[in-house]
């Protein structure tokens, strides 16, 4: 995620360097020119048929939708690249302050390959990923695996303490650890600093009803879901300000968070800070004002409802809008939007009371 946060791949590619993703999901995303839709499962939005078609088109292999066959194809393709690559670039799940060790957690073994096969290993670590001791790491490894994938421990937990030493059989000749701030130290001093405890397990995404309804792409950020709604405006600035508003504040994210981040509280703080700083867009302020007036007046509310039903009938197809106009466009870029019901609850209630 971190290399995506700083668009490292695109930068390296424009510098003429071949970059190949090694996580299977990320590899498929790269092949298809797509973007990840989930922190842990980047191709959550794709079917196995979609993956088969991508492989057929990009790797010139016969179509298959059998997961084992698709895995074998990816394995054969990537293995050759692993063995010839001169540099491996990875993220870091945790860094251990007491020993200077870094920890890579994977289920596919790509972390183990990338950190040993190439001559140089570059690890990019967010500065918030540090834990004080190995004992703390052992707790975090269990939390991460349990909350991310429901495992007791991930398949590969690699703890790396420097490059290859004298008399060792393998390992990288050079290990470079890039500790990335990118706005994190500013968050550390703010009232939203709790978001830096996030271990990127994705549990809040899995529990979020908004994420379920709109998918990860609709957030438009590297970090989707509740955690992304708090983090994205802090890391990437004003264009992501609407994200904290994309929440029902149901609290499901807080319930499942393994490090007990108060995400609904942070979303509320983020919203109020935007309002205080006057960062809420004019169309949003205007629409909220109109909604407030309309919803307080039964006649206006009824009129608005009937107008909405007429518009829905005229412009929707089979009960769905495929595109929405103006500032609402973002909601229909990746998902259709449901049309207004032709009979409101009040109309149905009145009818059933009469009948």
């Amino acid at each position: 995620m971190l290399t995506e946060e700083i668009s490292l791949n695109q930068f390296l590619e424009t510098s003429g360097i071949d970059v190949v993703e090694t996580d299977l999901g990320e590899f498929i995303v790269q092949l298809s020119g797509d973007k990840p839709s989930h922190i842990i499962a980047p191709i959550l939005h794709m079917t196995r048929e979609d993956v088969g078609n991508v492989f057929k088109e990009k790797l010139n292999v016969p179509f298959s939708d059998d997961p084992a066959t698709l895995n074998a194809i990816a394995r054969a393709h990537m293995r050759e690249i692993f063995l010839k690559a001169d540099m491996g670039i990875s993220g870091v799940n945790f860094g251990v302050s007491e020993s200077g060790a870094i920890c890579l957690v994977t289920n596919e073994g790509n972390g183990r390959l990338i950190s040993t096969a190439p001559r140089i290993h570059v690890a990019v670590m967010g500065m918030e990923r540090l834990v004080p001791t190995l004992a703390d790491l052992s707790i975090m490894l269990q939390l991460l695996a349990r909350s991310a994938t429901g495992q007791k421990l991930s398949v590969y937990s690699n703890i790396l303490c420097g490059p290859r030493r004298k008399n060792e059989s393998d390992g990288p000749e050079e290990l470079h650890i890039v500790i990335l701030d990118n706005g994190r130290s500013k968050i550390l001093g703010s009232t939203l600093s709790e978001i830096l405890y996030c271990i990127r397990c994705g549990a809040c995404l899995n529990a979020c009803p908004v994420f379920h309804s709109i998918g990860g792409h609709a957030y438009g950020s590297v970090y989707p879901g509740p955690v992304g709604s708090v983090l994205s405006p802090l890391l990437f600035g004003d264009p992501w300000n609407p994200l904290p508003h994309a929440s029902s504040l149901c609290g499901a994210c807080k319930e499942v968070c393994p490090v007990d981040i108060d995400l609904p509280g942070l979303l509320l703080k983020s919203r109020s800070q935007q309002i205080e700083k006057g960062k809420s867009p004019l169309w949003m302020q205007l629409s909220q004002w109109i909604y407030a007036i309309t919803s307080c007046n039964p006649i206006l509310f009824g009129l608005a409802l009937r107008s909405g039903q007429v518009v829905s009938r005229l412009l929707s197809h089979d009960g769905w809008f495929t595109t929405l106009p103006g500032p609402l466009q973002g909601w229909s870029t990746h998902r259709d939007f449901p049309a207004l019901a032709q009979k409101s609850f009040r109309q149905l209630w009145d009818k059933s009371s009469q009948g």
Partner: protein, 179 residues
């Protein structure tokens, strides 16, 4: 937030208020020396099998050798790589496999860039790797491999056979750091 406060939150979130203290030595109490070793073995096998690893109990050196040979017989070629004999918990493995016509690939990777790539490509022909393990974690069915002279941990193979003596069997990852 202070570390203690954070750990308190984590502890509360996982419903366990007995997180390990790095300065506390009592966490060693569940090491095999004092814990029921058979219980740990049973738990380890149960957990390892749950994540699709196959476990084989070997009563002595000869049975362990036969088990490895049997597993190699199931593969499509006769190539393997392994940790140095001195780092493995069974004796005479290389000699026995040599006499059974198994070909051990030299797994030390040269430091020269071109030679390094050539070696990696050659090693990719191997589908079986034989390692020991520095510790085994019963709670999760995991094994711990440490990179040091005589052992390698780089390549992820189709088949990895890890040979573990009972001695490093530990209850959980929390206790591993205390050993």
């Amino acid at each position: 937030m202070k570390r203690a406060h954070f750990l308190q939150k984590v502890s509360s979130a996982i419903g366990n208020r007995t997180l390990p203290d790095q300065n506390e030595t009592s966490t060693r109490q569940n090491n095999p020396a004092t814990a029921d070793l058979q219980t740990l073995i049973n738990k380890f096998i149960e957990e390892a099998n749950a994540v699709k690893a196959e476990t084989h109990l070997a009563s002595d050196n000869e049975v362990a050798l036969q088990t490895v040979i049997q597993l190699l017989n199931n593969q499509t070629n006769n190539k393997y790589m392994s940790w140095d004999d001195s780092c493995l918990p069974i004796k005479n493995l290389e000699k026995r496999l040599d006499s059974a016509n198994y070909l051990r690939y030299q797994s030390t990777v040269p430091r020269d860039t071109m030679e390094r790539t050539r070696t990696h490509i050659k090693l990719a022909e191997v589908s079986v790797g034989i390692t020991g393990c520095n510790a085994a974690l019963a709670d999760t069915g995991s094994i711990v491999l440490e990179r040091k002279p005589g052992v390698r941990e780089g390549l992820v193979l189709f088949c990895q056979q890890s040979i573990s003596p009972y001695s490093p069997l530990i209850k959980s990852i929390r206790l591993w750091r205390a050993t």
